[in-house]
Each structure stands twice: as C-alpha cells, then as structure tokens.
C-alpha cells in the first residue's frame, strides 16, 4: 500500500481518537499565540489534531481523503505529503502568534489546504496551472459562496482567509526549492 494512504489513514485515526477520547483537547491542545509565547510550544504541532465539533471533524477527514487521492494521482510522495501538512500548519500558526496572538486555532484544515496549494503546481503536469489554481481557489471559497446563496450574508470569511493563506503557503513552499538550483535534464540523461 502506498505510504500516502497509510499516512492519511493514521492522521484520520488520530483526529477521531482525540475528538472522542480526549474531551479537553480544545483547551489543552489548540494553538494561540499567547499560550505559545508563554512556553507551550507543543501546541504548534497538536492544534492540527484538534477539532471543535463533529461537523468540523467530518469535513476535515473528507477533505483529507480527497486530497490524498489527488496527491496519489499527481504523484506526491508520502513524506512530502506530511511535510507540507506540518510545514504549512506551523508557518501560519507562527505568523498568527506574532500578528494576532489572541486568536485560537484548531483543526487540520491549514495543513490540508497547504497540501492543496502544493498540488496546484505539482498537478500542472496533468492539468494546466491556469485551470487548476482557479478551481482550487473557488473550492476554498465554497462556504462563503454557499452562505451567499442561502442567506445572502457572508459568514466564515475569517476561516476562508485562513484556508487561503494555507493554500498559498503550500504553493510557495512547493515552488521555493525550484529556484534553489538549475535543473539539468539533458546533461543528466546524456547517454
């Protein structure tokens, strides 16, 4: 079985286990700049495993499953999958600690949208970037769009902007190493 599926399954099991068997998880494991700056550094990792309600948990497990399938299709390796997940979560959490320390963050969605951002470039081998990136961005705004249609009011905007920042952080993390060194294809394959 491919590592990406195993990693995704393990993450889902941890989400479920923490939600059902760790009732104080929101207080003890979620992230806030204040707690982090007070020395509770473990929250930088643990907040991704905490979910505030059942719907939040289900949404993120479904999103994680879809992103796993997409990652598999686009050839994303398991270790990169987990790397983007934590790298993006940690980066956004650190940024929020310095800019909005009172904000409490919980959930896996930052990491999930980070992977989506990386896939928007990785997948351009299959679907052109100018199609893939707009589709992914629209998918990030689905809650805002649904709200607009159902109640003519915009809610969930702060959450959506967080997801969007996760998406772009993942995209940047994917692109950055490409600038590091020149890629030699012809010379490396010269028979």
């Amino acid at each position: 079985m491919k590592k990406i599926f195993i990693i995704s399954a393990i993450l889902s099991i941890i989400f479920i286990a923490i939600f059902f068997f760790f009732p104080n998880s929101q207080i003890l494991l979620s992230f806030s700049g204040i707690k982090f700056l007070a020395g509770e550094f473990y929250r930088l990792i643990t907040f991704s495993f905490v979910h505030v309600n059942f719907l939040h948990l289900i949404e993120n497990i479904i999103a994680l499953s879809l992103i796993t399938l997409l990652g598999y299709e686009f050839g994303l390796k398991g270790k990169k999958f987990i790397l983007y997940f934590f790298l993006v979560s940690i980066t956004i959490a650190l940024a929020s600690a310095f800019f909005v320390p009172v904000l409490v963050i919980a959930g896996a969605s930052l990491g999930i949208y980070g992977i989506l951002g990386a896939l928007s470039i990785k997948g351009s081998n299959f679907i052109p970037k100018n199609i893939l990136i707009p589709i992914f961005i629209i998918s990030i705004f689905y809650k805002v769009i649904l709200d607009l249609f159902s109640s003519q009011e915009i809610t969930n905007l702060d959450q959506t902007l967080f997801h969007l920042s996760g998406f772009f952080t993942g995209l940047v993390f994917f692109i950055l190493p490409r600038f590091k060194k020149k890629k030699h294809i012809l010379l490396n394959k010269n028979g």
């Binding site: 890629k183 294809i185 012809l186 490396n188």
Partner: protein, 242 residues
C-alpha cells in the same frame, strides 16, 4: 556591402540559399524517415567546427550519444575528435527517459530550453541542431504550450547569435512540413526533403520553402546521400517518369 552568411558546408544547398543561412536564424529541416535530415544537419555542424571555427551543439532525443558518433563515422563525419576538442557537443538520450526524469525532479519543458541556453553560453556555441523538434514538443501538454516553447527556444537561440536547425519528422507521402502544423510558422526558414516514388525507386528532392529576409531558389532540386554525406545538385530539377 556583402551580407554575412552561415555556410552549411553542403555546396549545392548553399547555392540554393544564395550563399548560406542568415546568422542567428532558426531553420526547420523537414523530411520523412531515411531522407538524410540528421546527416545534413550534422554536416552543418561539422562544417562549422572544422572550417569556420564555430562550435556546435547536437541534441538527439532518440539515440544514445555513442550510437550517434558511431553512425556518423560511417558517413566520414568523425565527431569524436571534434568533441574532444570541445568543438562539437553531442547530447543524446531517449525521450522516454527524459520524460520520466523530468517528472521525477519536477521539471518542465522550459527547464530544457534554459538548459540549452546555458550550454550554448558556456561552450560559445554558434550552431545548434535539435533532432527532433517533434520529440521536444511532445513533452508539452497543450498546443499553446508547444507554440510558447518553440517561440521561446528560437528567440533565445537567436539572441545568442546561434544559427539553428530544428529537425522535423514527417510521414511519407505528405505535404505537411511538421507534426503539429505550427513549427513552420515560428521558424525563420524551412527546408524540405522529399522522397518521391518513381516506379521501384525513390527520388530524393530538396527545396527551400521559406527563408525570411533572404532570396532563395524555389525549385525542388535533386540530392543524394553518399558515403560523404548529403550532396545537393542545385542545377538539376527533379523529374519523374512521364
């Protein structure tokens, strides 16, 4: 004032081109299999390296480097000593391997264009042959990408003052000049090789279809592939049995 020309080294062809190719231009060399495209293109590089002190780059996306050298040796085109003296750089490899490798390292086809540019700069190359452009453009997913690649490649080579031959493989008995039908519009010139069937033999014919900024012969002329390479007969019009 006498206009500077890049001699191909094929006497008859230079006559058809009214003295040779214009420097810094990209030429599409189109023809079916066995028409001598690679031989003609390598003669162009060989001539540049031996007679004009112009370094050459040959990129073959189908054959291995050693095989290319071996094949050309049989045509009296000894590339190995020229390669040793850094007068000609030969790059060979199978396209399938390149495609897989690109995917593995997350590269795209524009990385190849940048790499070609880097090789040209590093080795002070003035003549480039890409064998074939069909295989290179096959790495693109869309027609838009293909056109962009060709434009980028020809512009970069032109800016580096490189005269380039892009080889285009076409099916037999076709009037098409390229596989995707866009290559001939992007380049500055087109030379067509034909194998016209006449009874139980093929008569090889060569023509200059297009040459921006230069006058040229417009007839189909006879050529032959000999043990010394391609020979063009600029005064012999091609005829078929009537």
């Amino acid at each position: 004032m006498v206009e500077k020309r890049v001699k191909t080294g094929i006497l008859g062809l230079d006559k058809l081109l009214k003295g040779g190719l214009l420097p810094g231009r990209s030429i599409l060399l189109s023809g079916p299999c066995g028409s001598g495209k690679s031989t003609l293109a390598i003669q162009f590089l060989h001539h540049g390296a031996t007679k004009n002190n112009e370094n050459g780059l040959y990129i073959n996306l189908e054959e291995e480097r050693s095989r290319i050298i071996e094949n050309m040796q049989k045509m009296s085109l000894d590339l190995a000593p020229l390669e040793k003296k850094d007068k000609i750089k030969i790059i060979g490899g199978q396209i399938a391997g390149i495609d897989d490798y690109m995917y593995k390292i997350g590269a795209d086809v524009y990385n190849i264009v940048n790499e070609i540019e880097e090789i040209v700069k590093q080795n002070n190359i003035k003549r480039v042959v890409i064998d074939s452009i069909n295989l290179l453009t096959m790495l693109c997913r869309t027609e838009e990408e293909r056109r962009k690649l060709l434009t980028r490649l020809t512009h970069k080579l032109s800016n580096l003052d490189c005269t380039s031959i892009l080889i285009s493989e076409v099916k037999e008995n076709t009037t098409n000049l390229s596989r995707f039908g866009i290559e001939e519009f992007v380049v500055d010139g087109v030379i067509g090789l034909y194998l016209l069937r006449s009874g139980d033999r093929f008569i090889p014919g060569i023509t200059v279809r297009k040459m921006r900024g230069s006058d040229h012969d417009r007839n189909i002329r006879l050529y032959k592939i000999t043990s010394k390479g391609v020979e063009v007969y600029p005064n012999e019009t091609l005829f078929t049995d009537i």
